[in-house]
Symmetry: C2
Subunit: 421 residues, 2 copies
């Protein structure tokens, strides 16, 4: 019986995700937007409202533990690959200063705006028992996140990855990620630790120990393992198993430190040697199941966590405020940063628009917030809508600012090269 | 909290599986024997007896649903790959007659012995409400199964895959699989349908419809999809997603027909086009997660389903009887068949020994029997021990019968070629 309901859930979720992804790809959206929309559609807002008894039967409370386990594994594998893909290209290093401007400003502006709107949101939307500052800092982190993978995908689809503007945005997104995730880790530790500053200290010291163990222990150990056992970049079953056990261990330790498993998974990916063949073969081995099968479950569970209350009259104001502030903060921050680095207005606005794509990273942040009790289902729903809207507007905004046609990569479009100050 | 316990379970299970696999590989056993042993060790018989409170905490009843969902997905993916790898080589077709002798006899002899010992086992070991014949036929199917993948692995490890004896065994295992799985499907339908012959008729008609839909609908559809969308044998994300949805759908339909999801998964794999590049790229994409991460969970859950009652005085007799009958039936059946096909005694006994390796296929059969209520935990434990023992004895028996050294593949060891009658 349990196998039947699981298989049925998987089929419904995968089919909805693929159909939505396919439809939205045909209007020029990256498929992740479709998959996020599919999650929302499977939740109480759409499917639950249209077919309440079917919905209640298919996604009964008891049946969600299985889905949730599959989604946890998918999330850990996904964040591992994100960490694995984190790398600084030569161009990025050259553009470090420009990327720094854009990155810092497109964190600081949304962050400040997130704190600024928190007094308006806190009374109605914060769960009981959550202090103002953890709530405000979480909102700040939620608004300042950028989805590196979605951005990379949008740039790749348009053949803009290797343009100066593309490199600038990717570099800036890496800077943003570092800031936003550290902030998020800090907020979660603040709340999760529970025992005030003593708990925070424990988490901080624990993380310091983990980072040392990772970079001085695991990193050389796995570098050696991969050099000896997978010199051709093709890890054997034993190597794969060791990697998986190491990955799960890292995820478990960060979870124990009152952080979240995704941090450990990301760090473990980031600590593996930068090797293109290894990256390719690991991605080939992990992505098909984790991206195709497991991640749509994560989106669906996010959708199941939403509530239609968020679409009532009073809440709509808060939702519009969040979407507006998130968009303005990111685009303005990114664009001003790019201008300061010497880029033209069009490229600068396009850069800001790219920074505004939050994609599934926002969903991960939201899940962390929900798991930590920092937000409730209403705010969770609003942030999901915000993530959908900001990610979906990225493509059209880029079309608006720098045109629909992909500029020739590497073809020396010198007019886009910033005048170095 | 739930993520913590899942991560912890995964780490313990994967580590135990790898360590046991590694230890047993060093005494010449295929790693699957180690992984099966790891499952048994994590169950109540070893870990539960040694560290009862730790065991109860780590594998609490409520926490098993997550593991079980992951294992169901793993099993479906695994059986899909098994179906995918089912293919007749040219040599196999040439040896069809010989393989037929071996195959039929190494099904019929254990099957007859399985029915013969059932009257002795039925009173004490059959669950309440199960009729004698379903029980006896299930025992017959459980004794007559052969693990094609384990056999292929053992032959490959010894460089014997392309010897006449290796080809004969592989061909015979394919014949055995067809017979044993049809028998098993019949038994499960008999019991699962519940409403006697009307239910059985429903399942039979349903299966006929499914087979027609598969071979006249899905097979050409996916052949077309793969030809158009993956002409280089490298399925894109969309193709992978379609394959996964088709696979889950097949698994769901067989589950609905009171069969088991594994049948649908296997059939779906078997209905895809025979294409080496496709096989390679699908295997590369599916095996790392399904074999490395998910299948050990299946072994662990099997281990958790065992009971130490099976090792009490009275039960030991039944266990020895099962192990003995299983071994004698397979080796004798296979050897007599190979002799009839004109092989020498040594090769014939080695062939029989290979047919005796039941590996994880037996565990799948056991799980089907347990899910269908055909056997209880005690008999489940005995069959697990039988699967372990028969698989573990295969290597040493082959060493005994045809020597430790791998014969040169393709090197024309003519003395092993059967005198064609």
């Amino acid at each position: 019986m349990s196998a039947t309901s699981l298989l049925l859930q998987l089929i419904v979720i995968l089919t909805t995700a693929r159909v939505c992804g396919w439809v939205l790809r045909h209007v020029g959206q990256p498929s992740v937007v479709g998959e996020m929309a599919a999650g929302l559609m499977l939740g109480p807002v759409v499917m639950g409202a249209l077919f309440p008894s079917l919905h209640a039967q298919l996604f009964s409370k008891e049946s969600l533990q299985g889905l949730s386990s599959l989604s946890t594994l998918g999330l850990v594998l996904f964040m591992f690959v994100v960490g694995l893909e984190l790398r600084s290209t030569k161009t990025m290093r050259e553009q470090l200063r420009s990327a720094g401007y854009v990155g810092v400003l497109s964190v600081v502006v949304p962050l400040a705006l997130g704190i600024a709107i928190s007094p308006a949101l806190y009374p109605a939307l914060a769960p009981k028992g959550v202090g103002f500052w953890p709530f405000a800092l979480f909102m700040a982190a939620a608004l300042s996140i950028t989805a590196f993978p979605v951005m990379a995908r949008i740039l790749k689809d348009r053949g803009m990855t290797r343009t100066p503007f593309g490199q600038l945005s990717l570099g800036a997104a890496a800077v943003v990620d570092v800031f936003a995730w550290i902030l998020l880790a800090f907020v979660v530790a603040l709340v999760g630790a529970g025992e005030g500053y003593a708990g925070l200290l424990k988490t901080t010291v624990g993380m310091a120990v983990v980072l040392c163990a990772l970079f001085f222990g695991l990193k050389p150990a796995f570098a050696w393992l991969l050099r000896v056992k997978a010199p051709d970049g093709e890890p054997s079953t034993t190597v794969m198993a060791s990697l998986m056990i190491g990955l799960l261990l890292c995820a478990l330790v960060t979870e124990w430190l009152h952080l979240h498993a995704v941090f450990g998974a990301f760090l473990f990916g980031a600590c593996l040697p930068r090797d293109d063949r290894l990256l390719k073969s690991l991605t080939e081995r992990i992505e098909p199941i984790s991206i195709v099968v497991l991640m749509p479950l994560f989106f669906a569970l996010a959708g199941l966590g939403t509530t239609s209350n968020a679409f009532s009259g009073a809440s709509m104001g808060a939702m519009l405020l969040i979407v507006g502030v998130a968009t303005v903060g990111k685009i303005a921050g990114g664009a001003v940063g790019a201008r300061m680095a010497g880029y033209g207005w069009r490229d600068s606005l396009a850069t800001g628009s790219l920074m505004n794509a939050r994609g599934l990273m926002e969903l991960i942040v939201m899940k962390i917030g929900l798991d930590a009790g920092l937000i409730g289902p209403e705010l969770f729903t609003m942030l999901l809508v915000m993530a959908l809207v900001t990610t979906a507007m990225t493509g059209p905004l880029i079309n608006l600012f720098i045109g629909r046609k992909a500029p020739m990569a590497d073809a020396g479009d010198a007019h886009r090269t910033p005048a170095k100050p």
